[in-house]
C-alpha cells in the first residue's frame, strides 16, 4: 500500500480553481518531486496536504488513515512535517530550542511539573536535549546548538528547518524548494543530506524544486503541475524528456 495516496484533490479560491483533480501515489521510502512553472499550484498542494487549506474536493490518505480536512495539528500528529519556501524558523530561539519545539508532541510533562521543577521535568528535558543534539549532529549543527537560529548562515538555516521537521517524527517529509537561494556547492551538499535523511530515518520525501540539477539528481519519480492540473507523472528521466513538460517550462 502506498504511504500517501491523494485522489482527485481540488481547491477553489472564489472563482479561481487553484488545484484541480490532483492525484498522486507515493510509496514508502520514495524520493518524489513536484515540479511546475511558477504559480502552477505546488505550494498550494503542500498547504492542502498539511491542512493549512481545506480541500474543496478529493481525499488524502496517509498510511491508511484518512486525513482529508483535518487540522494542521492533527495532520502533523498523523505524520506529515514540512519546511517552508521562505525559511520560517523561530529566529529568536536557540538552534537546539527550535528542534525541541519540534519534539513537543513526543515528550510530555504538565505545566505544573515545569513550574515546580519536579524530577520528571529534569528527566524529560534531559532526554529532549539528548534527542535534539543527536538530530543536530546528523546535520552538522551540533557546534551551533546554543546560538540563536537567526545567526546561522543561510544553508545551515535550511538544514535546521529540516532537522526541526524531522523532530516531529513524521512519516512523510515535505520540502518546499529546499535549494532556493543556494549556490551549486550548497545544493550538492543538500542533495547528500536529503538522501541521508531518506536512508537513515526511513523517510519518504516529497519535494518542490525549481533547481533541475537537484530534481534530476535525487528524485526517483516526478509529477508536473501546470495551471493547477497534472501535466504528467512518471520516472524522472521520462518526465524530463516529455515534450509537453519542456513546452510548459520553456514556452513554445
Amino acid at each position: 500500500m502506498a504511504l500517501l495516496e491523494v485522489k482527485k484533490l481540488g481547491i477553489s479560491f472564489g472563482g479561481l480553481r487553484a488545484v484541480d483533480e490532483f492525484s498522486i501515489k507515493i510509496e514508502k521510502g520514495e524520493l518524489y518531486g513536484l515540479i511546475g512553472p511558477n504559480g502552477a499550484g505546488k505550494t498550494t498542494i503542500f498547504n492542502l496536504l498539511t491542512g493549512v487549506y481545506k480541500p474543496t474536493d478529493g481525499s488524502i490518505i496517509l498510511d491508511g488513515e484518512d486525513i482529508t480536512g483535518k487540522s494542521t495539528i492533527q495532520i502533523n500528529h498523523a505524520g506529515i512535517a514540512r519546511t517552508f519556501q521562505n525559511i520560517r524558523l523561530f529566529h529568536n530561539l536557540s538552534v537546539i530550542d527550535n528542534v525541541k519545539v519540534g519534539l513537543h508532541n513526543h515528550y510530555k510533562y504538565s505545566a505544573g511539573t515545569g513550574v515546580f521543577r519536579l524530577p520528571k521535568f529534569f528527566r524529560t528535558e534531559k532526554e529532549m536535549n539528548k534527542k535534539a543534539l543527536e538530530l543536530l549532529r546528523v546535520f552538522d549543527l551540533e557546534g551551533e546548538a546554543y546560538l540563536p537560529a537567526s545567526g546561522l548562515p543561510y544553508g545551515k538555516q535550511r538544514k535546521l528547518e529540516i532537522a526541526r521537521a524531522l523532530a516531529t517524527q513524521p512519516k512523510l517529509l515535505l520540502l518546499d524548494e529546499p535549494a532556493a537561494g543556494m549556490n551549486p556547492n550548497e545544493t550538492a551538499e543538500l542533495m547528500n543530506t536529503i538522501r541521508f535523511v531518506r536512508d537513515n530515518f526511513d523517510m519518504t520525501v516529497l519535494l518542490i524544486e525549481h533547481d533541475m540539477s537537484l530534481v534530476s539528481g535525487i528524485c526517483e519519480r516526478l509529477s508536473v503541475l501546470n495551471f493547477g492540473q497534472l501535466l504528467c507523472q512518471g520516472e524522472t528521466s521520462e518526465v524530463l524528456s516529455n515534450p509537453e513538460v519542456i513546452t510548459a517550462y520553456l514556452g513554445e
Partner: protein, 293 residues
C-alpha cells in the same frame, strides 16, 4: 530618611505594577494583543479574596488560592468568548473588544459586588521592619510585594525559557503558523498564556488591596493602565522589562507624589509614557524591529 522610606514604598508599589505588567507583556508577546481588561481582572481577584475572608470566613491563604483559580478561569473564559473569535481580525477590533470587556467587568462587578466601596483587610502577616531606630519603618505589605514580585519574575522567566510549554509559547509568539505545522496547539498555548497572566493578576490584586485597602469596581483600572505604561517603558513582550518598567513607574509615582505634587503624580507617570514613545518607542529592553520596505 523620609526619602529612603518613599523610595522603598515606590519600589513596593512598582513591584505590584511589575506583576500586573507581566500579564500585559505575556499576552502581548504571545497573542499579539493588548488586553485592556487585564486591570479589571485584578479587581475581581480583590473582590474574591474580600468575600472569601469576610463573608465565608475562609483562611487568607485559601482565599488567595481561590482568587487565583477564579481569575485564571475568568482569563481563559474572556479569551475564549471575546478574543478567540477575533484571532484573524485587525488589531484595532481586538483592542476595542478588550476595552469593551473591561467595561463589562467593571459593570458586572457593580452588579455582583455592590456599588459601595469596601475596605479590604490585609491578608499579609509579615512583621514591620524598623531601621535606623525606627526612623524608617517598612510595612509587612511593602516587603511582601517586593518579595512576591521577585519570585514571580524569576519563576516566570524559568518557566518561559526552560520548559516545554514555555518553548511552545515562544514559538507561537514568533510564528503561529509555523508553530502549528510543527504540531503545537496554538489555541491551548494562548489559553495557557491568559491563564498565567490572569492568575498573576489575582496575586497583584491581593498585594494591591493589602497596601491600598479601598476596593471598588474601578480599583483595577488605574493600576492596570499604569502597569501598561510600565510594560511599554520596559519593552513590551519582555519579562525582565516588565519588572524594570514596573519599579521605575512605581518609584516615579511615589517620589512625584512626595516631592512634586500629589495631584500631578499620575500626570507625571503618563508624561513618562509620552517621553518613552518619543525617545525609545521599543522601551528599555524592547527589541528594535527593522521594518522591511
Amino acid at each position: 530618611m523620609a526619602f529612603l522610606e518613599n523610595l522603598i514604598n515606590g519600589i513596593s508599589l512598582g513591584s505590584i505594577y511589575a506583576v500586573i505588567a507581566l500579564g500585559y507583556t505575556l499576552v502581548y508577546g504571545i497573542a499579539k494583543m493588548l488586553n485592556f481588561a487585564h486591570g479589571d481582572v485584578i479587581m475581581v481577584g480583590g473582590y474574591v479574596v474580600f468575600n472569601a475572608i469576610v463573608k465565608a470566613n475562609l483562611n487568607p491563604w485559601v482565599s488567595v488560592a481561590l482568587a487565583v483559580v477564579a481569575c485564571t478561569v475568568l482569563g481563559i473564559t474572556i479569551e475564549k468568548v471575546a478574543y478567540k473569535p477575533l484571532r484573524k481580525a485587525s488589531s484595532l477590533s481586538v483592542l476595542i473588544t478588550a476595552i469593551g470587556v473591561s467595561y463589562f467587568l467593571q459593570n458586572m462587578a457593580l452588579l455582583v459586588f455592590g456599588e459601595k466601596p469596601v475596605t479590604f483587610t490585609s491578608v499579609i502577616d509579615i512583621p514591620k521592619i524598623s531601621l535606623f531606630d525606627g526612623k524608617v519603618v517598612i510595612k509587612g505589605e511593602t516587603t511582601a510585594a517586593i518579595i512576591a514580585s521577585i519570585l514571580i519574575v524569576i519563576g516566570l522567566s524559568l518557566f518561559v525559557n526552560h520548559t516545554q510549554k514555555g518553548r511552545a509559547m515562544l514559538a507561537v509568539s514568533e510564528d503561529k503558523d509555523a508553530a502549528q505545522l510543527m504540531g503545537i496547539n496554538v489555541n491551548s498555548t494562548i489559553s495557557l498564556t491568559f491563564a498565567i497572566g490572569s492568575g498573576l493578576a489575582a496575586i497583584a490584586g491581593v498585594l494591591l488591596c493589602s497596601s491600598y485597602p479601598i476596593l471598588s469596581n474601578t480599583t483595577g483600572a488605574m493600576p492596570g493602565i499604569k502597569a501598561f505604561v510600565a510594560a511599554v517603558l520596559g519593552g513590551i513582550g519582555s519579562i525582565p522589562g516588565a519588572m524594570i518598567g514596573g519599579i521605575t513607574i512605581g518609584v516615579i509615582e511615589i517620589l512625584g507624589r512626595a516631592y512634586i505634587s500629589p495631584q500631578l503624580a499620575d500626570a507625571i507617570v503618563f508624561a513618562v509614557l509620552i517621553l518613552v514613545l518619543m525617545v525609545k518607542p521599543t522601551g528599555i529592553l524592547g527589541k528594535k524591529i527593522n521594518e522591511k520596505v
